[in-house]
Assembly symmetry: C5
Homo-oligomer: 304 residues x 5
């Protein structure tokens, strides 16, 4: 049975998955399903922000997908564009993204849900994409904890600062990828869209909930990161303060015997202390005493 026939059957729909298609292939798909020019241009160019657009009788949904590249500890982003109509779902993947074969398998295992139509497939795909953000934010939470340990263990170094900056950058990226979905889910839940039957709405509320939670975790991480950065700066200041006090203390302790020694190194003809047999031990004692006194003073006031 060809595509055309399938589309004519009232209780069936077609689900096509494309990965970085050529423009030619996209145009073919456009002709088959009667998709809008602007949506196809978007799907080809990629670099769209997540959004939901309604064209006559179809929906065009853009999602950003994310995957943790464990080797390089980097997050890789991709895009998925979905065309959803009464009789079709077309997914177009760009960049880093898992195949949706798993989603298809899961859907086919639940025929009673799948028969809700393309709306349910849209839910399944969005749920899949959104759920893949959880391990990523978990990894970033671990990263923040490691940073906190470094900061409060005072093993801070230039690298700490760089990692804080990179963590911030990652959080901004995720925020940009996820936060527009709040609005997308809201519209799918509330607006009167023929394509989304009443009983799939609670499912989109579930996606909405996950999106809100990822958003909250990201906001939380950003606030904690800011706080950690401030703690870092504060501890560097305290450490500098301590170094300064230590410097002052030891400088004073060394300066005293140096000065005394300098005095008795003067070549005046008439310096009675120099002639006295007990002069040397007395002066050495004075030096030791002065140093000891200063040391105790500084120790007591916490400078050393």
């Amino acid at each position: 049975m060809g595509l055309g026939d399938a589309l004519k059957q009232p209780d069936r729909f077609v689900w096509i998955g494309l990965h970085e298609p050529t423009e030619e292939l996209l145009r073919e798909v456009q002709r088959a399903f009667g998709l809008h020019d602007l949506a196809i241009e978007d799907a080809h160019r990629a670099h769209q922000r997540p959004k939901l657009e309604r064209y006559d009788d179809g929906l065009f949904v853009v999602l950003r997908t994310a995957q943790m590249n464990r080797d390089q500890r980097r997050i890789e982003f991709g895009e998925t564009h979905l065309f959803v109509g009464r009789r079709y779902v077309v997914s177009v993947r760009h960049g880093a993204s898992l195949s949706y074969a798993e989603v298809r398998a899961r859907c086919e295992a639940m025929p009673q849900l799948l028969c809700m139509g393309p709306g349910f497939v849209l839910y399944a795909l969005m749920d899949f994409v959104v759920d893949h953000y959880f391990p990523i934010v978990d990894a970033l939470e671990d990263e923040l904890e490691a940073l906190e340990d470094e900061i409060f263990g005072e093993q801070f170094s230039r690298g700490t600062t760089r990692r804080i900056h990179e963590l911030k950058r990652d959080l901004l990226e995720i925020k940009r990828a996820v936060s527009p979905l709040v609005d997308v889910c809201n519209r799918l839940m509330r607006f009167d869209l023929e394509l989304i039957p009443e009983d799939t709405r609670p499912y989109f509320r579930d996606v909405y909930d996950h999106v809100i939670r990822i958003n909250e975790i990201v906001d939380n991480l950003r606030e904690l990161l800011t706080s950690a950065l401030e703690a870092n700066l504060s501890l560097i200041s305290v450490s500098q303060n301590d170094a300064m006090k230590k410097l002052t203390g030891w400088a004073a302790i060394f300066a005293v015997p140096t000065m005394i020694a300098g005095i008795y190194g003067m070549n005046f003809r008439w310096m009675p202390e120099l002639e006295h047999p007990l002069g040397y031990p007395a002066i050495m004692g004075l030096m030791l005493g002065a140093c000891g006194f200063l040391y105790l003073q500084f120790k007591r006031s916490g400078w050393l």
Copy 2:
């Protein structure tokens, strides 16, 4: 009288409390009261954010509970999931949370209120959960005051910075647990929900009020904490500045006699001062005078 019979009586309702139930038990409860799949999944997985969801003829409410662990000075969070229908209230507790036996006892002591139905029980449980946040924010207020005393008593140390960071983290947690309740209460107060009779609305307004107050106290604490952190940094800077000035002052005072002594330690054949019998006392006087002069100067300008 079995559960089935109880549910059939028009003027009665069932109130069941579960603590970290098995999935099997939850499924049984689901069958008995006809609860929605997604809500049951949420109740089993926990780690939900506080929310109110409406399913056909029932409400699903998620609350975050909190308890102060006095020994370790840590706040422990738990979750309570409530299913409220016309004839039933089911509470599912996860993690740190007090038993609701106390709420039940209190409700049973007020039969005239209890006969308002499950809506009143929902109020009683929410009120109980929210009121347990007050001792916690009080404890955090005490903690902040202790921190302020440390900071302004200038006993600040690395530990102060760490405690500021941890206090911030706690406040963020509480904020996340309480602030979604503003919206939940608002919807319970305003929307036309059959389950909440008109005369229980003022009670939810009371809960709403408490939630707003906890929120305000938390916001207040966060602003004061930020201000305290800035004061801390500012005082460290002042302290560093003082150390710097002291260092400069004492370095100058010691440098002068050391330099003079160095000069009269030179081995030039022709240095008339060295031959003079008053050379030594004169030079010593000069040294003392210079040091004294510098000391007074620095004292006057506040450097020492």
Copy 3:
């Protein structure tokens, strides 16, 4: 004429003022005017945030009152709870607050306004409470100016930092006491409340205006305080920078003659300069010249 009779007369109303009443007295008042349980509980417990609540046929208004304690330079807060019905106004005062006898006298002097009913009394009381915030924010403005003089006069000290922190705390308190009144006034001005006749509305608009102004002044003060704090930190840094440059400069100036003196203090047998009769004055001249040269250099570049 008893209270009961007074309440029955269509064109009269009762105005009762209580100060920290016992629970018993409150219950009596409740019975007399038919007030709601929750409102009475609030009125007894105090520690409410400012709010306006509507119960059946009456209003319950909570206001925070403030007074400057000139001796200790502290602001003391109190609460006033107002019950307003068609035939009664009950005010309950807690904590620091002036007696409302003055308001009563003023109202009685304007019978043409008083005959607008309890709504006008509500206005008169709110106006009285709000107007008492103006001298307080004026005092805080003076405090800020004194702080600015300290900071820019560079007499900053640890005390300055503490006062900035305390001023912030006071501003937060006032903000919390006044800002909820924006909403309260708005509702009194706009909503269709039978108790507030059309021609008293402009009076509530007047209160609204004052509340907005206090809010604006407080926000302004907070921004200026933040700016002053930054200026403070910036000036401390500049001061530290100057101390650092001075330290470096003087250290260099003293180090040169000390080094030269050290060289000519060496005990080498063959050091021709030492034998020369002009060696000493030449070296002294060199030292002075080097010091003078360095001094001028540092002076020119602004380090000294």
Copy 4:
């Protein structure tokens, strides 16, 4: 023709301008035009925030006027209160403000516009007041540029910090004076006010536009000022860092020959180098070499 007669003529209106009137005069005006008590009180007390209020059949508008006092480089603020009715416009000026004679002359030169009635006069006055803010924000822009030149030319001084603080204060003042006008213009443009005929609306849209632009410029200036302040702090830190490195570098360079000289200043009987005829030049060479080596090292690593 008296005032009373003028007010009776259907196609005429009276335009009165007062400057800091006595209370008596205000009361007379009130009687003549039937103005509301509260508005007259406001007009007499001044210190109002900009607002638009509607009384029965008239409008009461408060504007804040501003003038640059070129001599003292200070901005002086005044207030203008406008009463606008069907047959009258009354302007009351307080504090620093230009006379509105110029506005009157301009209006009289455009009789076709003036015949739109008091609404057009209101526009002309508001336009005049708002347009006088442009030279002021221009002056503040120049001030900011001068500050930036100072900061990046690193001629920063204590005065820079003070001027930044004062510029912030000025911007806050202007913001407070102008931003309430956004709302005022909006209401004049949109609400169905009989006094503002349909064809004067585009004129108020023009004023609205200017207000928005002044607001934007002020916000912009505040952000740039914040950025400049941060740049200032950052440059002070860099400068301090440089001073610190220079100090360390020079201290090390001087310390080496001083230490070597000290060693050969020791009085040990058996120090063979001292006896050697080349000892002195060799040691001097060593000193010079060490200093030169250190100097080059520090130069290469950017410390000197």
Copy 5:
């Protein structure tokens, strides 16, 4: 066929492009198309913020255009004013802006779209203007990356701070130029404007999307810039801390032998060590040992 004739033909429209026209020419255009006085004044004065205004039967749109001046690495801004009516499009260019000849050529190549009327031309012009912001924000992203490399490569200098400030200024400018277009596009997409036929709406949604993306990129850049600035400050502090510790360490290492040498440079008659033939090597050994010990200590604790 003259302009008048063209305007009379129902299915035609006139498209006129002006570049910095004289007032005279503008007045002529005004007469020909019946444009509003205020719009013409705006178009002549320039320095408007982007906006959309509706006059009777026409639209007046102000856009800010931007071009990167590659030689001086500066962004140059211009303005384009568009008058759109049923039968005409008039574009007035001021300052830096490309000619719209390219847009005209593109439009003429798509006659099926052009026949949608002036609304489509408005889209084509807005799209052209907005798309020219993309290369500019790309250039700023490159600039930020270069800055980050400088900061984390620790080649930071005074210039880095200046460039951060200038980048912030550029971002503010672009934000001001682009963000009002969100509202403009929204109104063109949603409001019932006769001039914008239903089927051109998706095109304006496309422009809207681009505007949102530019806004997002700019916001992102600003956050990253702030983070980079903080990293910069943090690294300067760390670097200062290191310099401080190095200074303290080396000062201590040099101070010890200088002090010991000073002691044995004293001229006491009775100093037995001086007489001993092994005194000198023993003391030299002591000096070396002390220095070595200190060096290792400091090395181990990370100070050197």
